[in-house]
Structures are given as structure tokens and as C-alpha cells.
């Protein structure tokens, strides 16, 4: 969001439909007001949805769960996070058909490797969403083998089970915790033909486990793909001095540092707003207190050095001076 309170390259859309998929997950449909198709995108892409929630302007990333082959609307499937900062709560409670909103163009940090003839996909919970667009894209690529293993707390909380079953047939597998079903990672990761590409999206412990196990089983790094949006955490308010802009701002409890920087009229770079892409990396000039790193971009030694921070998700206890 620039000083004018607009996302870079925003697209104005209208909410055309809100579908309650189960007790936790709703699907939101966005279309252009004039009904013309939205821009094409690739499987695994996400958009950022801008939300004016009272005085707070939020921008949160959500994977597109509709087919890249049909852009009459974009669909996102969002799990209500009662502990979160409020983006999903706002969408679940306030967003109704007919509302006007702004979104970004799609961008993709979880793209398919189009050279592969085999794709092994592992989803946990709401991490199923990017696989919806990926499997739709793969369905158009004849001769490509795609296999999806989807873990969830209960079948009641699973989404798109029928759609995925019809798309993938016997190559779709469902595992519900409440039925004592678990993805057998060791068996799956040790039995794939060479050249298979692995994709994982789900809660942090699942991603960490799959990354560890794939390394143990000798998977090359460039065949392992994962998507992990960190949530911009809420927390205690803190102060930020923007040295290059000559401004000092307070980051509110329910606001991210990036959102506070933008609200102060300072144009800061960003792409994913989820601590994954590296675009918002900012130099820390000094800190009086402690940096609370929440991103997946900086290496551990970079975090320990205290010289860099990712303001889209990370916070501070005390006061931090940024080169921005």
C-alpha cells in the first residue's frame, strides 16, 4: 500500500459470492465490476487482499484456489483463525457479496516445475489451497503424473474432497487425524522414481518434518518445493524510527510493521507479505530492545546478527531504527 492507501498495481474487484465450506472455512469469489476476465495466473499463485478494517489497513496473502484456466473470477478459501491478527476474522465476519475490495495481481512463489513428469504433493489442513490451482493446471498437461496426499483433522474439516477425487482419481489420498490416519512420509519419500518433484504446504511442523525427511531420503533441494506464509503476528506495540524518511512511528498491537510503515506514507517494497519472498528486507541501524524474527527468509546467522529484518511479519520489543 502506497501513501495513497492502495496496493501497488491493485485491481478493483467486487465480492460475487461467499460460500461456507464448513464450520471453519469460507470461499470468497472476486470478479471485476465489469465482468471482464481477471488476469491469467499460474498454479500455486497467491493474491494479496486489501482490507480496511476500521482504522487498520491490512494486506494479507491468500493462495488462489480456483482454476488458472478460468479467470471469470478468482476464488480464495480462507480458514478462520480465531487466534490470528484479524485478517481472516474480518473476511469471515464482514465480507459479503456486493462489497467492493482491492486485490493485487497474482504472483507465484510455489510454482510447478514444468519439466517434471511426476509431482508428489503433500497438503496439511488449509495448505490444500495452492494445490487446487496446481492440480487444475496439471490436468491440462497430458502424460504428467500428479499425486496428492491431504492430511486434515477430520473429514468434516476437509475441503474440495469430491472435486479432487474426480480430478485425480486413485492418485488422491485423504488422511484424517480423528480416524487415526497419517501420511506415511517415509514410505512415500523413499519410493518415488528419480526426477519426481515434491511439493508441501501446511502447518509449520508438517513442512519442517517433510523437509527433514526429504533430506534424509536424499532428495535434491531443487526438487523440493514448499510454501509457507508466516502470519504477521500481533503483539505488544513498539516504536520504529524510519531514519531515511525522518519519521518515527508506533506499530499497533494488531498491525504489522510493514502496514505501519505504509500508513505513515512511506513507500516500502514488498511482494508476499508473508516473510517468504525477501522483497521487504530492511537494514536495522540500531535496536533498543529485541528483534522478534518471524520470517522464513533470513538465515539464522542473519537473524542473530541483528542487522536485517523483514517488516511484513517480524516485530520488536522496544524501539528499532530502520534504514527506510
Amino acid at each position: 500500500m502506497s501513501a495513497r492507501g492502495r496496493l501497488h498495481g491493485a485491481i478493483d474487484v467486487v465480492v460475487t459470492e461467499v460460500v461456507e465450506l464448513n464450520s471453519l472455512i469460507k470461499r470468497f469469489h472476486f470478479a471485476r465490476p465489469d465482468g471482464k476476465p481477471l488476469p491469467a495466473f499460474s498454479g500455486g499463485a497467491h493474491i494479496i487482499i486489501q482490507m480496511q478494517d476500521g482504522d487498520t489497513l491490512r494486506g494479507s496473502p491468500y493462495s488462489l484456489s480456483s482454476s488458472p484456466l478460468d479467470t471469470r473470477d478468482y476464488q480464495v478459501s480462507i480458514r478462520r483463525d480465531d487466534q490470528g491478527r484479524g485478517g481472516s476474522l474480518y473476511l469471515h465476519r464482514e465480507v459479503k457479496p456486493g462489497m467492493k475490495m482491492s486485490i493485487t495481481h497474482p504472483s507465484n512463489m510455489f510454482a510447478l516445475d514444468k519439466r517434471a513428469s511426476r509431482h508428489l504433493m503433500l497438503a496439511g489442513g488449509i495448505g490444500i489451497t495452492p494445490f487446487m490451482s496446481q492440480t487444475a493446471q496439471l490436468a491440462q498437461m497430458p502424460g504428467v503424473h500428479a499425486e496428492l496426499h491431504y492430511g486434515m483433522r477430520s473429514r468434516e474439516l476437509g475441503v474440495y474432497l469430491e472435486e479432487l477425487a474426480s480430478r485425480l482419481g486413485s492418485r488422491f489420498h485423504v488422511y484424517a487425524d480423528e480416524d487415526n490416519e497419517q501420511i506415511d512420509y517415509d514410505r512415500l519419500l523413499s519410493s518415488q522414481p528419480a526426477g519426481t518433484h515434491l511439493y508441501v504446504c501446511g502447518p509449520s511442523p508438517m513442512i519442517d518434518l517433510v523437509l527433514r525427511k526429504s533430506a534424509e531420503h536424499g532428495w535434491p533441494d531443487n526438487h523440493v518445493h514448499y510454501e509457507h506464509f508466516a502470519k504477521a503476528s500481533s503483539g505488544e506495540p513498539f516504536n520504529v524510527e524510519l531514519r531515511a524518511s525522518g519519521k518515527t512511528i508506533e506499530v499497533g498491537a494488531e498491525q504489522s510493521m510493514l502496514e505501519a510503515i505504509e500508513a505513515a506514507g512511506v513507500d516500502a517494497p514488498y511482494l508476499c507479505r508473508g516473510g517468504a519472498c525477501g522483497q521487504c528486507e530492511t537494514r536495522v541501524l540500531s535496536v533498543d530492545g529485541e528483534l522478534l524474527h518471524e520470517d522464513h527468509w533470513l538465515e539464522d546467522d542473519e537473524k542473530a546478527s541483528g542487522e536485517k529484518i523483514m517488516p511484513c511479519v517480524s516485530r520488536c520489543r522496544g524501539t528499532v531504527v530502520l534504514d527506510r
Binding site: 498495481g9 499460474s42 488458472p68 504472483s107 516445475d113 531443487n222 517494497p269
Partner: protein, 351 residues
């Protein structure tokens, strides 16, 4: 009485043999002159490719100028002799369709008097009046076009086009059409990553230019294209200065004399742009070539002055890498007469 058809303002000229290429005065003035100050060093000189200044090559996202028809004729000649100038690895076909859509929709929007695109679902109708093309085809179905989608549309678009796949935090040159290049070969570079194909460039690696440039390119998003300018010099207005044809143009580097330098030596400007493609998530990298003869430069006093100073102060490694050693001094001597020693104004545009 019927109104006579509006004459198409395209020059009939050659980029080989008798070299009849020539810029009109307006085309000189709209050139993307690459120097914004009186010296040159490698830098990550990227900027957003939008809101183009009127009357310049930046005005439209995909520029079409008076050389269009003749450049396309030259490209066809190169491809006849060497089909490997256009290649697309099997996983890049979707990016080819993305490229076709981008170029057709940009041209039809910018130049409706020359190009038109009508879409009815997947059924597309494309008219290119300057080249006399009127085709209906099915988007996504290669069998409905005379060439693959990348070759089809880039036979109708000035400049070279590299299509870069993004994987593992790097960019891979996995498709392209390259017939108007400054001494590099797609056939040699195909499948290489960003650092591999830039390996021969001197000084820039040590300055961290490529690491930062790659980071920037990976962040290029849909609807937010970026651009940069690059340059070299070429003897004769020859578009195809390829390694494959070095035997044809290499010896010409020694043909520059004080008598012929004004009309035989050219500043070769590359307008490079970077576009995120939507369906493939690939990056399209068009490299558009503009020629200005030394005499063309002298019609813009600021440009002649600046070119003189850039050549004079150019680090020798860069001069050698760009192949200027045979004629740099002759060009400096010629341009010296147009340098009055006064300060130049900031930025690249004519005063």
C-alpha cells in the same frame, strides 16, 4: 471517390550487404540514448517500464518504429539460414503462448491502426497490416499456427526475445529467438542459468551487480514490467552480429577510418525489458536494438558531447569486452569536434 489507403510509414531498407538502413530525423530524436551522465560503469540500472515519456521509444510498452517491416524481413533471412536461432525447450510452450498474448495485446492497444486482436474464447483473430497477416487460430493449440507460438509472434516483433524459466531461485534461458544480438548465441546459452550466461562479463561480477540484478528480476510482478538499457558499438547497421556469423562481420571491425567513421560506425543501444508472464510464471526478456550512427549523434549536441566523454573515460576492460579497441580512438577524434567542453544537463534526453 475512394479515399486512398493510408501509406504505411515503414522504410524499405537492408541490414546486410548494401546496408541501406537509415534513421529519419524524428527516429534519431526518439532513440533511447543510454547515457544519463558523461561516464559509464556497470550498474543495476533497472527502472519500471511504464508511464513512458511521449515522443520517445518508451512511449508504448512494445515499441514499433519505421524499421519494423525491414527488420522482420532480416529476421526471416537469418532464420532461413539457421533455424536454431529460435529454440524452445519442451516445458516452455506455455510461456510461448503467454508471450504471444502479451505482444498481440500490447500492439493492438498501442497501434490500433496497424494491429488488431479479437478474442472469442479460445478462438483468436489477429491482423498485422504492416506485414499483411490475417490469421485465425485457437489459443493453446499449436497445430492452428504455422510456427510454435513464440516463433509465430516474434517473427512479427522487433528485437530478440529470451524466455526465462524461474526455478530454484534462479532464471534459466530455456527458450528464445535471437537474430539481432551483440555477439552472443542462444544455441550456446540455451539451458544456462543467469550467472552462467553472464559469466564472460568483466568487472560486474566483482561489483555484485548480477546477484542484485537477479534478486530484482525475480521480484518482477505481473503488470509491473521493468527495463534497463545496455549498449555497444557496431560497424555497419548489421542486426545479426552473431558468433555464428563472426566470419562475416568480425573483419569489418578493422574497416573504420577517419573518413568513414561518421556513417559506418554505430552506437548500438539495447532496450531490455522484463515481463512476468501469467500462465507460466516465466520471465520474458525482450532485447530491442536501436542504431544511431556517429553522424546521427551529432544532430543532438548533448549526445555527441556525452558519447565523446563516455568513450574517452571508458575502462579498458569494458572497451575490450565490447570489441571497441579497433576504432575507439577514431570515434573519439571524430566526436571531439562536437564537444565544446561545457557541462551537460542531467539525464539522457536531448536538451
Amino acid at each position: 471517390m475512394a479515399t486512398p489507403a493510408r501509406e504505411l510509414p515503414f522504410r524499405d531498407e537492408t541490414f546486410r550487404d548494401d546496408f541501406t538502413f537509415k534513421n529519419s530525423p524524428q527516429t534519431v530524436l526518439r532513440a533511447p540514448f543510454p547515457f544519463d551522465k558523461d561516464s559509464y560503469m556497470y550498474a543495476v540500472n533497472m527502472e519500471l517500464h511504464k508511464d513512458g515519456r511521449a515522443g520517445t521509444a518508451f512511449e508504448e510498452p512494445i515499441d514499433v518504429d519505421e524499421h519494423y517491416v525491414s527488420e522482420m524481413r532480416d529476421r526471416a533471412l537469418v532464420l532461413d539460414e539457421d533455424p536454431l536461432r529460435c529454440q524452445s525447450l519442451p516445458h516452455m510452450t506455455l510461456a510461448g503462448w503467454d508471450t504471444l498474448e502479451l505482444l498481440m495485446s500490447c500492439k493492438a492497444a498501442s497501434y490500433p491502426e496497424w494491429f488488431s486482436l479479437e478474442r472469442d474464447g479460445d478462438r483468436w483473430h489477429w491482423i498485422n497490416r504492416p506485414l499483411g497477416i490475417d490469421d485465425t487460430f485457437t489459443f493453446g493449440d499449436e497445430t492452428t499456427l504455422p510456427y510454435g507460438p513464440l516463433e509465430y509472434i516474434t517473427r512479427q516483433a522487433q528485437g530478440d526475445f529470451c524466455v526465462l524459466d524461474e526455478r530454484a531461485g534462479n532464471l534459466w534461458m530455456d527458450a528464445g529467438i535471437v537474430t539481432t544480438q551483440a555477439d552472443w548465441s542462444l544455441d550456446f546459452d540455451i539451458g544456462m542459468n543467469f550467472f552462467e550466461w553472464h559469466a564472460p562479463v568483466p568487472l560486474a561480477h566483482e561489483r555484485g551487480v548480477f546477484t542484485r540484478a537477479l534478486k530484482y528480476l525475480l521480484s518482477v510482478q505481473q503488470a509491473n514490467p521493468a527495463r534497463r538499457l545496455n549498449w555497444t558499438m557496431t560497424v555497419n547497421p548489421r542486426l545479426d552480429t552473431s558468433p555464428e556469423n563472426y566470419h562475416k562481420w568480425g573483419p569489418e571491425n578493422t574497416h573504420i577510418t577517419p573518413e568513414n567513421v561518421a556513417d559506418k560506425l554505430f552506437l548500438r543501444i539495447e532496450l531490455q525489458s522484463f515481463w512476468r508472464l501469467p500462465r507460466s510464471n516465466a520471465l520474458l526478456f525482450p532485447i530491442r536494438c536501436y542504431f544511431l550512427s556517429m553522424r546521427d549523434l551529432t544532430t543532438v549536441p548533448k549526445w555527441a558531447t556525452r558519447m565523446h566523454r563516455v568513450l574517452k573515460t571508458l575502462p579498458p576492460e569494458i572497451a575490450s569486452y565490447k570489441g571497441l579497441d579497433h576504432y575507439r580512438e577514431i570515434a573519439i577524434d571524430y566526436l571531439a569536434a562536437f564537444d565544446d567542453g561545457q557541462e551537460t544537463t542531467a539525464g539522457p534526453f536531448p536538451d
